[in-house]
Symmetry: C2
Subunit: 335 residues, 2 copies
């Protein structure tokens, strides 16, 4: 039963993205719906700023959609903060039935998958999937407060300050959609001996490979059947490992593969070492870059593999390795 591919009929009706200043200065900077120059979004703490980003991302998506939150039957949300408080506090004012998720950086894909499943099954007419991460909040929780000025290693990824929201509904041909979620395959947690929290790309790459290989085997598809195979977020280090592992198994993704963590920052002008990460990274890159291309038909059929490293700082201190996961969602152009 490990190889079940979910057959889904869900449309993406709207989406929103909110980012911090560094993301705004990056290669995709002008594509995001809003940014804040001091990353605080009017709040007193980084954690509250993260919640505020989620609140605004969903508000933007609802505004684009032209309806208010009372139309939503379910919210799927999660983030990196302990007890996922970014989501709990950020979305409480919308007063919508709420499903709390934990998928680390795979949360955008996990929310898309569960939201699409719920609307496809007809349990709710519309659902939203929301996620976020905040660099300064994540640094002080996972590593050290940025004020300490701790040295980062070359394989370390930079947690994106950003939040995204997607609004999903069951395909019904009466409402025009930006994209269609047609299939999904949940990831299986695996760990390959990596316990370096400054090299999460290496921990997550095998999980992305595992899911992609299972998906291709079950569906009989090949990488060339897709316009894009997008991981989120392996960064440059993890992306190289991802391609190497696939190559070793005879699967070539050159020209098809790209990674949200490798897209959001400039490798040359922005000092982020191995690239972006964090729940918000693949969320905002999907929202700002890929979904508009699916809407215009420039991309007709793509795979998103959301990757997450599900360790805690305490678990690493206790000598555990990093369990990682890759959730796959297939998106087709909108109708």
């Amino acid at each position: 039963m490990k190889d079940t591919v979910f057959e889904l009929q869900a449309d993406v009706y709207a989406y929103g993205s909110v980012v911090g200043e560094k993301e705004h200065q990056g290669p995709l900077g002008n594509l995001f719906d809003m940014h804040d120059e001091d990353d605080k979004f009017g709040q007193r703490t980084w954690e509250q700023a993260e919640s505020e980003m989620q609140r605004r991302a969903l508000g933007i998506a609802l505004k684009k959609w032209g309806r208010d939150a009372s139309a939503l039957g379910a919210l799927f949300a999660g983030d990196l903060l302990n007890q996922c408080v970014g989501s709990a506090y950020g979305l409480i004012d919308y007063h919508v039935p709420y499903f709390g998720l934990y998928g680390a950086c795979s949360t955008a894909a996990l929310g898309l998958m569960l939201g699409a499943t719920m609307v496809s099954a007809g349990q709710v007419r519309y659902a939203a999937a929301v996620t976020s991460s905040h660099n300064t909040a994540a640094e002080r929780q996972y590593r050290t407060p940025v004020e300490y000025g701790a040295q980062r290693t070359p394989t370390a990824q930079w947690t994106v300050t950003g939040a995204s929201a997607f609004i999903l509904g069951k395909c019904d041909r009466t409402e025009s959609s930006h994209a269609r979620v047609s299939q999904a395959m949940p990831g299986i947690p695996i760990e390959m001996g990596i316990r370096d929290a400054a090299n999460m790309g290496a921990a997550m790459a095998p999980a992305a490979v595992d899911t992609l290989e299972r998906y291709l085997a079950v569906t009989g598809k090949a990488p060339e059947d897709f316009d894009a195979i997008v991981t989120g977020d392996l960064g440059w280090e993890g992306s190289a490992i991802f391609c190497d592992l696939l190559h070793a198994d005879g699967i070539e993704v050159d020209g098809k593969h790209t990674d949200c963590g490798a897209m959001i920052f400039s490798r040359h002008t922005q000092d982020t070492h191995a690239g972006g990460s964090g729940c918000g990274c693949s969320g905002v890159v999907m929202s700002a870059y890929f979904l508009p291309k699916l809407a215009t038909g420039e991309i007709k059929d793509m795979l998103l593999i959301g990757t997450g490293a599900m360790m805690s700082p305490d678990a690493l201190k206790q000598g555990r390795n990093i369990p990682a996961i890759g959730h796959l969602v297939r998106l087709k152009r909108g109708m």
Copy 2:
């Protein structure tokens, strides 16, 4: 869309419960499948012991069911530890597609609801819902290490050391079931100004009331239509508030309401103050007490309202109130 009730067709085929020594000494002590005298389950740390409890709870459920994990199409799991590592590490060896949840103490109900939805929709044939909490791991994460001997207030609840697993499949009349999940209603996060982490019953009671009142309004049911209305876990303090709030709205649940946190420990002989809490509490009480009664028909129709307090210690330090949620699942006798 806030008042959607999910119509489900899911059977519970097996379940398992694992608890610590204090829970074994409580009123339900002999009903649990296994316990460990030193709460360590052979592990070196409390956190690893929590993971091991999850591993064993699922193993027990699978053994009772008579199949191995390869029959499962999905695992829904979460816990209270930061980044939900109890689940990620505890279930990794089963190699099953994995959906990480965060619902604080509502996780047992949240997992039942999502697992039942997934099998009802036919996306997977069988799914399992697993959760856990560990008193000593929770104390040092949320409050202070128990070795400090910090004084507890009378309204404080005692985090249960326990893990539960439920195995679900779509109703098909060929396999005999212990219980049937027929409906569910997801909770909406609400906060009523409570910010005392030593009085989570008060924070969670309004969320349980909100969901129950929405459910009764939509379905036209009354408390007397059910054999039991079970909250998990408000403890004695929260249960009194729950009944008072309902009474103020003209709804009487006397004789129908009971609470997993009020059942698992003896109020008179075990010093747990306001009763039990933690993801494991409602999970093991459902597994050891209510599901067997649904299996024999002693209980024919009941509501479980899993309640969760979704704050973090950091959020409380930043002056935030406690957002709470109540997820409702309706269970009927097995076929």
